[in-house]
Symmetry: C2
Subunit: 321 residues, 2 copies
C-alpha cells in the first residue's frame, strides 16, 4: 500500500465561499501562496459559479490567470514552485466550464449528486440535468486535454433525503470513471458519514475501479472527520480533500459545518507514517493567515496542540507529531 498521500486543499474554494467576509483576489492569491509554501501541490483555487450566486468566488478567472499566466513573474516566491502545483477550479455547469477554459484552466472539478433534492437546492437542476451537465463537462474536458475531477456530493447522507443508497453512489462512480474522469471524490458534504460506512463504500469502489482514481472529502460536523479519513485509508484511499483551518461548510446544506482541517489530517497522517510532502509548521502559518484574512475562529482541532509541541523534542510530545 502506498505511503504517499495527496492532500487536495479546498480552503480557497470550499472554505472561502461560505465566509461572510469576501476576500480580494490578491488576498486569495496570498492564501494560495502560503499553502504552496507549506508544500501543498493540489489546490482547489476557486469556482466558476455565477458571481451573483457565490459572490466570494467572483474573479476566479483573474486569479487563475495570475496563478498560471502573466502574473507569474511579479510573484517570485510562488513562481519557483508553481510548475509543481496543480490548480483546479469548481465548474458547476457548462457555462462555468467555458469561463474556466477562457481563463486557461488545466484542471476542473464538476459535481455529481447522490440526491435529487440536493441537486435541486444546490444548482436548481434535476438529478438528470445535473448528471447531463457533469457528463458534458467531462466530455469537453477530455477533448480539450483538461483534467476533470468529479466530486459526488452527499455521497454518505443528504440533509433533505436522509440516508443515501450506496448502490446509487456506486452507479454514479462507475458512470463517470468509465467516461474518463481523472478522479472520483466521494464527498460527505454535511458530515453525516461514519467510518464503518466510509470503509465499506470506499472498499467496494476501490475493488471495482482501483483506489488510485478515488478520493474522499469529509466534514467534521459530527466530530468523525479524522475517523472517516482513517476508514478511507484502510480501504486504500490516498487522496483527501481538506480545508486549511477547517474553513468551510456548504451554504446550501443546512447543518453542514466546517471541512475537516488540513492540519488535523496531516498531523494524523504523519503520525501514522504517511508522507504528504507538507511541512506542519508552515501549514500552521497558512492556517493563521486564513484565520486573519477571513476573520473567523480557526476550526482545526489539533492546532493548539501542534503549536505547543512542534518545537519540542518527541520525548515531551509523547510520540511523533
Amino acid at each position: 500500500m502506498s505511503a504517499q498521500i495527496t492532500i487536495n486543499e479546498v480552503g480557497p474554494r470550499d472554505g472561502l465561499q461560505s465566509q461572510s467576509r469576501i476576500l480580494s483576489v490578491e488576498d486569495r492569491l496570498q492564501l494560495i501562496d502560503s499553502l504552496e509554501t507549506a508544500g501543498i501541490r493540489r489546490i482547489e483555487v476557486g469556482s466558476f459559479a455565477s458571481p451573483k450566486a457565490v459572490p466570494a468566488m467572483a474573479g476566479t478567472d483573474r486569479l487563475l490567470k495570475q496563478l498560471d499566466g502573466d502574473g507569474r513573474e511579479a510573484r517570485t516566491p510562488r513562481t519557483a514552485r508553481a510548475s509543481r502545483t496543480t490548480y483546479t477550479s469548481m465548474v458547476p455547469n457548462l457555462k462555468g466550464y467555458r469561463f474556466a477554459r477562457q481563463a486557461g484552466a488545466g484542471s476542473v472539478t464538476a459535481i455529481a449528486y447522490a440526491s435529487e433534492t440536493m441537486a435541486q437546492r444546490n444548482v436548481r437542476m434535476t438529478l438528470a440535468e445535473a448528471e447531463r451537465a457533469a457528463g458534458d463537462i467531462l466530455r469537453l474536458a477530455r477533448d480539450d486535454g483538461v483534467e476533470a475531477i468529479i466530486i459526488v456530493a452527499v455521497a454518505f447522507g443528504c440533509p433533505f433525503e436522509g440516508d443515501v443508497d450506496p448502490r446509487l453512489v456506486g452507479d454514479i462512480a462507475a458512470r463517470y470513471l468509465e467516461a474518463g474522469a481523472a478522479r472520483l471524490v466521494l464527498a460527505d458534504t454535511i458530515g453525516a458519514a461514519d467510518p464503518a460506512q466510509v470503509g465499506q463504500l470506499a472498499a467496494g469502489l476501490a475493488g471495482e475501479h482501483g483506489a488510485a482514481r478515488l478520493g474522499c472529502h469529509f466534514h467534521d460536523t459530527r466530530a468523525m472527520g479524522l475517523a472517516n479519513v482513517y476508514g478511507a485509508l484502510e480501504a486504500g484511499i490516498r487522496w483527501f480533500d481538506s480545508s486549511i483551518g477547517g474553513l468551510g461548510g456548504c451554504p446550501f446544506a443546512p447543518g453542514a459545518s466546517g471541512n475537516v482541517a488540513t492540519e488535523d489530517v496531516v498531523m494524523m497522517l504523519h503520525q501514522m507514517g504517511f508522507d504528504t510532502g507538507i511541512d506542519l509548521p508552515r501549514l500552521l502559518a497558512a492556517s493563521d493567515l486564513a484565520t486573519r484574512l477571513t476573520g473567523t475562529a480557526p476550526g482545526g482541532r489539533a492546532r493548539e496542540w501542534l503549536r505547543g509541541h512542534l518545537d519540542k523534542p518527541a520525548s515531551v510530545t509523547g510520540g511523533r507529531p
Copy 2:
C-alpha cells in the same frame, strides 16, 4: 462480532479530579444519578487516593456507601436501577484498596504503568514498586471476591519518555491477565495514540488474550479520540472508557487534555449500529449537569450537533444519529 458495547463512564473520577472546582459528595451523587438515568451501567465513581494529593476525590468512601448501602432508600429514582450498575473506584495503592473495601467496594481499578518516569511522577513509585502494588491489589481483590480492573497508563506514549514499546505493554497485559484481572484497559493517558497504532496493539492483545477481557481509554488531545475508538473497535474491543462532556485530563501529565466525550463515542457507536443501552437525549442532560456543576465549558464535540438534531426526523439529519 458482538454489537454490544460497554461504556465505562469515568467522568465522576477522571473528569472531576482535574477540575479546579471541587464538588460535594451530594453533587457527585447527582451526576452519577444522571448518568445512570441515561442508561450507563458501568461508572468509575471516585478514587481512594490521598485526599491531600487529590482533594476532589475526598469522601469517595461516603459516596460509595450512599450508592451501595444505607443511603439507598432515600434516593428512590436511582435506587430502582442501582442493582444493575457496577460502580468501580480507582485505588492507587494497597492503602487505597483497604479504604475501598471498608467502604464496601465490589469493584476496584488499579493502575499499571508503561513508563518508569510516569509512575514516579504520578504515584512516586518506581515502575517495579507500582507493579508490585497493582499485583498485591489484584491478589487481595481475588481473595475478597472483588472485581479488579487494571488500567495501563501511557500505553500509547508517555509525556516524559516519548514512544512506548508495544512489547512492554504486551508483557504488562499478559502478567495482569494471567494473574486474574477481570479486565485490562489500555489507556492513552495523554492523547498520543493514532488509530493505526491502536488497531495494531489491540489486535495483537486480542489475538493473545481474547478481546472480551480488554478495553480502551482515549483522550481527544490531538483530535483522534473517535478515530482511535474506531481503530480499537475493528480489533474487536467492546469496552470503552469515556467521560461525560469530555471532562478530564491527567493533572500529572503535561499536555493531557480532555477524555474522549461519552456523547461523542455513543453517537458514533449508535450510528454504526452498535448497542450501548444509552439514551442520547438523557446523556446530553447529564452532560449539561456536568457542565453546570463543574463550571467548565463542555469538551464534547458532537454535543451542539446532537442538540440541534435529536428531535428532528432522520430525513433532515442526513442519516441516523
